[in-house]
C-alpha cells in the first residue's frame, strides 16, 4: 500500500505535481491499481525468459541501418511548435545563477 509520502515521491520522480485537493483520491486509485497488479506475484514464472516485445528475435539483435546520411534536419520546421525559441535555440528558465 502506498502512502501520501510515496505518491509525493513518485510525482517528484515523474516531474508531476499532485494537487493537495486531489491527493487522497489519487492515492486511493493508485492503491486500487496496485491491488490488481499484485496478482502477478502468484504467477508460476520461475526460469521463464521475459518476453520484452513480441517482435523480438533473440538471434537477430537490433537491426542497424547503413551508417550514412539519410535525413536532414529542418530546424525551423522542428521548432515551429516549440513554446519559446530564439536564434534556433530553445529558451528555458535560468538554470545557473
Amino acid at each position: 500500500m502506498l502512502t501520501r509520502i510515496d505518491v509525493d515521491r513518485l510525482a517528484e520522480l515523474a516531474r508531476l505535481r499532485v494537487a493537495p485537493a486531489e491527493a487522497d483520491a489519487t492515492l486511493a486509485r493508485l492503491n486500487a491499481i496496485l491491488g490488481l497488479i499484485e496478482q502477478l506475484q502468484s504467477a508460476p514464472v520461475d526460469g521463464l525468459e521475459p518476453l520484452v516485445h513480441p517482435g523480438a528475435d533473440p538471434t537477430q539483435g537490433t537491426r542497424l541501418r547503413v551508417d550514412e546520411v539519410s535525413e536532414t534536419v529542418d530546424r525551423a520546421a522542428n521548432q515551429a511548435s516549440a513554446p519559446s525559441t530564439a536564434e534556433g535555440l530553445y529558451l528555458v528558465p535560468r538554470v545557473v545563477e
Binding site: 505535481r17 493508485l30 502477478l40 504467477a43 513480441p54 537491426r63 530553445y90
Partner: protein
Amino acid sequence: MKDWTEAGVATLAAALAARQVSAEELANAFLQRMAASPLNAFLDRQAEHTLAQARACDERLARGTARALEGVPIAHKDVLVTRDWVTSAGSQMLANYRSPFDATVVERLTQAGMVTLGKLNCDEFAMGSTNENSAYGAVRNPWDHAAIPGGSSGGSAAAVAAGLTPAATGTDTGGSIRQPAAFCGITGIKPSYGRASRYGLIAYASSLDQAGPMARSAHDCALLLSVMCGFDPRDATSLELPHEDFAAALATPFTAGQTQRPLSGLRIGLPEEFFQSGVSADVEQAVRAALDQLSALGAQCVSVRLPRTALAIPAYYVIAPAEASSNLSRFDGVRYGHRAKGVRDLHDLYSRSRSEGFGAEVQRRILIGTYVLSHGYYDAYYLRAQQVRRLIANDFDQAFAHCDLIAGPVAPTVAWDLGAHRDDPLADYLADIFTLPASLAGLPGLSMPVGFGAGRRPVGLQLIGPKLQEARLLRVAHQYQCVTDWHQQRPAQAGLVSEHGH
C-alpha cells in the same frame, strides 16, 4: 445524385475509377456529414487541405494515372501525426501541435490516393477504453448517444459507423481497435506486432502499439491493411516482409474446391476462459450464433485452453504504464506542447507543464509506471510481467497446435453508458480481458459485428490468428459477411438531417 456516403472503400474505389463520382464530390459529401454530426468524433478538419487533395486525385483519375485507392476518403486517429492537420493525441498537452511530417501509415495511405478528411477523437494518448479520457470531450456511440463508443479509437469507430467517413485508422495497444469496432458495429483489425510502422504514431507502450484499419467490412479492411503494412526502416521493430495483398484470397475456399462450404477444413478454437462467467448472456448469445454460422460454412469448432487469460490484466497494467512513463517523459514544456506560465525554475517548468497538460488517467498511468520501474521494484513488477507475457504467448502456441484461429467475444458486455464507471476505477481495466492476451503476444486480432445485445447495442466477434496470419482472419470474416448482413446495418439515429438529393 446517389448517396455515396453509405458506400464502403471497395465500392467507392470502383465508382471513382469508373468516374461515376468525383473525389471532390465525395470529399464534400463527407465534410457536410461531419459538420452536421453531434457525435464529437472529429477533432480537426481543414476543408481546404481535404479538397486540394481531392482535386489532385480527380486530375490523376482524368489522366489515367490513378493509384489503388485514388480519391477514397479516410480519417486518421489523432495519435498519428499529420503535417496539415493538428495532432493533439486527445490531450491538452498537444493542443494546436503541428507535426513537421506525416506518420508512415498516413503517408502510405495518402500515396495510395486516399483523401484525408480530418483527425479523429480518442482517449488521451490512447489511454482508455471508453473515449471519456479525451481532453476534448467524450465521443457518443452512434447506435445510442447515451453509450460510450469504446476506446481508445472511439472517434474512428463512431465516425465509420455513422457514415462520416468510409474508413479510419486506429491504433491498438490493448484492444483499442477491436473493442470500439465491436461497440460501434464495424470491422477492424490489429495486425501482428511489427507489420505496420509505428513511425509517427505517438508512442504509448512501444512493445504493444500497432496501427490498423477500421471500416465497414473485412473486404475494406483488407484493402486498407495491404496499403498500411510494409517494411519501414524508420521503425526498429518493423518486420522485413514481402508485400502482401490481403484482399487477393478473400473469396478462396479454405479447402480447394469447397465453394459451398468455403470454411471446410478450418478449425476454430474456442478458449474455455472466453466463455465463462463474466460474459453477459446477450453477448454470448450473439457470439454463439455467429459460431453456428461459421460452422454452417464448414468450420469445425474445437475447445482449447488459454489458462492465463486473467493474468493478462495485471501484466498489461504493469507493462503499458511502465513504457508510457518512459515515452511520455519527452513532454517537458520545452520542445513542443503545453508550457506553464510564470514558473520559478526549470524543475518547476517541467512539473507544472506536465501536471497542467496531462489529464488524470495519463498522470495515474505515469505514476504507476514510475513506481513499477523504480529501484527495488523492477524485478517484482516489470520483469515479472514480462515473464507472465511469455506464459501467455506460450499458451497461444499450445492452443494453435489444435486450431487454425481462435474465436470469442471482444468484450464481456455491449457498450456501457457514458459515465457508468465513474466510481469504479478498475471496471474499465477488467473489461479489457479478452483483447489484452493477443496484444501481449503480438498476434493479429480482428473484430466484426455479429448482432445486437441489450439496448440494441452492437456485439463483436473476435478472431485471433497465429502470428502474421492476418489474411486468414480477413478471409474468415469475409466469408461470414458474404452470408450475413450485420456489417451492413446502420444506426438509425445518426443524428443527421440528410442534405443529399436523391
